[in-house]
C-alpha cells in the first residue's frame, strides 16, 4: 500500500520532471523469475525502472542494493525494506560462510523480478565501469529466468552521485533482448557486456563534461 502511494508520486515526478523515452518497453519481463540488469548512475535508476512497471506488479519487483548503504540506519532500513522493497547484499563480506546472494536466490525462487546493478556502485555519472559477476551466479542457478539488460542515459545528469539538486533532463531508456544462460559464466558476462555496448551506442548523446 505504502509502496503504491509512494510510486504514484514517483511516476508523476518521473513523467513531469524528467520525461522518459523508452525503447522496446515490451521486452521488460512481465513476470518472474526474471532479472533486470541496468547500468548505475543515480539514485533515480531504481525508482525510474520501478516506475516503468504497473502499480499492481510492484510488490513482485525487488531491487538489489548495498546493505552497507541502504540498511545503515534503522530508518533507512525500514524505508528500504517496506517502501522500496530492497533485497540487501553485503558488498564487503564479513561472514565468509554465508552466501551474499542468498536473498536473491530466495526471491527468484519465489518468482520475483530482480533489479540488479552489476557495476556495483553509481560511480562517475554517465560512465560505465566493469560488471561484477554476481549476476552470472544467479543465471546459473535459475537458467530459465530471462536476464534483460537495460541501458539508461540522462539520470546521472539529472541527479548524479553526491548531489541533492534534481535538474530536469529528458532521459533515454533502452531495453535489450534477454541474455540467456548457455552454461558458462565468463561467456555469459561477456555477452551481457556486449549487449550493453550495443545498447549504449544506439543513440548519440549530447556531450556532458
Amino acid at each position: 500500500m505504502l509502496q503504491k502511494v509512494f510510486y504514484v508520486f514517483v511516476k508523476t515526478g518521473v513523467l513531469f520532471l524528467l520525461g522518459l523515452n523508452v525503447r522496446r518497453k515490451e521486452l521488460l519481463p512481465a513476470k518472474g523469475p526474471a532479472i533486470i540488469v541496468a547500468n548505475h548512475n543515480s539514485h533515480l535508476d531504481t525508482m525510474v525502472l520501478m516506475a516503468l512497471m504497473p502499480l499492481s506488479k510492484l510488490k513482485d519487483i525487488k531491487p538489489v542494493a548495498a546493505a552497507d548503504y541502504f540498511f545503515s540506519s534503522p530508518l533507512k532500513a525500514w524505508i528500504s525494506e517496506h517502501v522500496l522493497g530492497i533485497i540487501p547484499v553485503e558488498r564487503q563480506r564479513k561472514d565468509k560462510t554465508a552466501d551474499p546472494l542468498e536473498g536473491c536466490y530466495d526471491a527468484l525462487g519465489e518468482g520475483k523480478v530482480l533489479i540488479l546493478f552489476p557495476e556495483g556502485s553509481r560511480g562517475q555519472p554517465e560512465e560505465m565501469t566493469d560488471l561484477k559477476k554476481g549476476v552470472s551466479f544467479l543465471a546459473e542457478r535459475f537458467p530459465e529466468a530471462p536476464v534483460v539488460p537495460v541501458f539508461t542515459h540522462g539520470l546521472g545528469k539529472a541527479l548524479p552521485k553526491g548531489s541533492f539538486l534534481l535538474v530536469p533532463f529528458f532521459c533515454d531508456i533502452f531495453v535489450g533482448e534477454p541474455v540467456t544462460w548457455e552454461g558458462d559464466r565468463t561467456q555469459f558476462m561477456s555477452r551481457l557486456k556486449d549487449s550493453f555496448n550495443t545498447l549504449s551506442t544506439e543513440k548519440i548523446f549530447a556531450p556532458w563534461e
Binding site: 520525461g19 548524479p160 548531489s163 539538486l165 535538474v167 530536469p168 529528458f170 549530447a206 556532458w208 563534461e209
Partner: protein
C-alpha cells in the same frame, strides 16, 4: 452559455480538424505506402487542440499555466540535446526557475518586467552563476547556449501568453484570447499548409543546406493559404481592419517559416533528426513550436504597436 464569434471560431477549428482527419483516413486507406506517421500526427493534433480548447474555455490563468508548461518542456528538451557542462547543473536549475517567474509577470500583467526579466536580468545573472564554479573551460559556449535556449523557449513563447492579458476593445470583443487563438491557429495551420504544398508540388529547394525538404512551392503555397485564412478569421477574433489583417497574414507565415528553419539549423548542428519524442508523429515539442518562437514575439509587438 451564449456562443460568441470566439466560440464559433474554436468550433470551426474542430471542423477543419475533422475534415483533415477524414482526408488523412481516406488517403491512408487508399495508399499502399506506410501512412502510420501521418495518422499518428493527426491523432496528436486532436490531443493538442483538445488541450488548447479546454484551457481557453476554463480561464486565462489555466492558459498561462499551459504555456508555462510548454516552455518548461521545450527548455528541458533543449538542455537535453545540447552539450552542457557538469559544473553548470546549478545554472541550468536557475534557468528553469526563470520560467515560473517570467509567467508570473504575465499573470500579473507587469509588462515592464515581462519585457526585461530574461533579456536583462537573467542575461546578466546566468554568466555570474556560471563563473562561481571557477571553471572557465567552455564558459563562453555554456553561457551563450543557455541564454539562447532561455530566449527561444521561455521569453519568445511567453509573448503568446501575454496576448491573453490584453483587454477586450470596442473593435474586438474576444480581447486577448481572440488574438492568441488567431496567432496559434495561423502559425500551426501555416506549418501544415507549407508541408502539404511542399509535398504536393515541391520542386525548387529553398534552403537545402539547412532543410533539404523545404521548397519554394511549399513556402509560397503556405503563405498564400495562411494569408487568405487570416483575412477570413481576423474580423471574427481580432480588432484588425483589412490592412492589418493582411499584414498579419504575411507576417505569421514568413516568421513561422524562419522559426522553423532556425530550429532545423540547430538540429543539423547537433546531428539530431527530432528535438525529442514527446508528441507522437511530430517529434519533440520544440519541433512543434519552432515557428511559434518567431511568430509569437513578432505578432505580439505588431498588435501592441497598433492597438494597445
Amino acid at each position: 452559455m451564449t456562443m460568441t464569434t470566439f466560440h464559433w471560431t474554436i468550433a470551426g477549428i474542430w471542423g477543419v480538424l475533422a475534415v483533415a482527419s477524414a482526408i488523412v483516413y481516406w488517403i491512408s486507406r487508399r495508399s499502399d505506402k506506410d501512412m502510420s506517421e501521418l495518422v499518428q500526427r493527426t491523432q496528436s493534433w486532436w490531443v493538442m487542440v483538445a488541450i488548447f480548447t479546454a484551457a481557453f474555455l476554463v480561464s486565462n490563468t489555466i492558459s498561462i499555466i499551459v504555456f508555462a508548461i510548454i516552455s518548461f518542456l521545450a527548455l528541458k528538451e533543449y538542455f537535453s540535446m545540447i552539450p552542457t557542462r557538469r559544473t553548470d547543473r546549478r545554472v541550468l536549475f536557475w534557468a528553469y526557475l526563470a520560467i515560473p517567474v517570467q509567467y508570473f509577470w504575465v499573470y500579473d500583467s507587469y509588462y515592464g518586467m515581462f519585457a526585461v526579466f530574461i533579456p536583462v536580468y537573467m542575461f546578466l545573472f546566468l554568466p555570474f552563476a556560471s563563473l562561481l564554479s571557477q571553471q572557465t573551460d567552455g564558459f563562453l559556449r555554456a553561457v551563450g547556449t543557455l541564454n539562447w535556449g532561455l530566449m527561444l523557449c521561455v521569453f519568445s513563447i511567453s509573448h503568446a501568453a501575454f496576448l491573453l492579458i490584453l483587454p477586450a476593445t470596442s473593435g474586438n470583443a474576444s480581447g486577448g484570447a481572440g488574438l492568441l487563438l488567431f496567432l496559434i491557429f495561423l502559425t500551426q495551420f501555416n506549418d501544415v499548409a507549407q508541408y502539404t504544398w511542399g509535398k504536393l508540388f515541391g520542386k525548387r529547394k529553398i534552403i537545402p543546406g539547412v532543410s533539404p525538404n523545404k521548397t519554394w512551392e511549399g513556402f509560397l503555397g503556405g503563405v498564400v493559404t495562411t494569408f487568405i485564412l487570416a483575412l477570413i478569421t481576423a474580423p471574427l477574433v481580432t480588432p484588425f481592419g483589412l490592412v492589418h489583417a493582411a499584414a498579419a497574414g504575411v507576417l505569421i507565415p514568413v516568421a513561422g517559416f524562419i522559426g522553423d528553419v532556425t530550429v532545423s539549423a540547430l538540429k543539423r548542428d547537433l546531428g539530431v533528426k527530432d528535438t525529442g519524442s514527446l508528441i507522437p508523429g511530430h517529434g519533440g515539442i520544440l519541433d512543434r513550436i519552432d515557428s511559434l518562437t518567431f511568430t509569437a514575439p513578432l505578432f505580439f509587438h505588431f498588435t501592441r504597436y497598433f492597438y494597445y
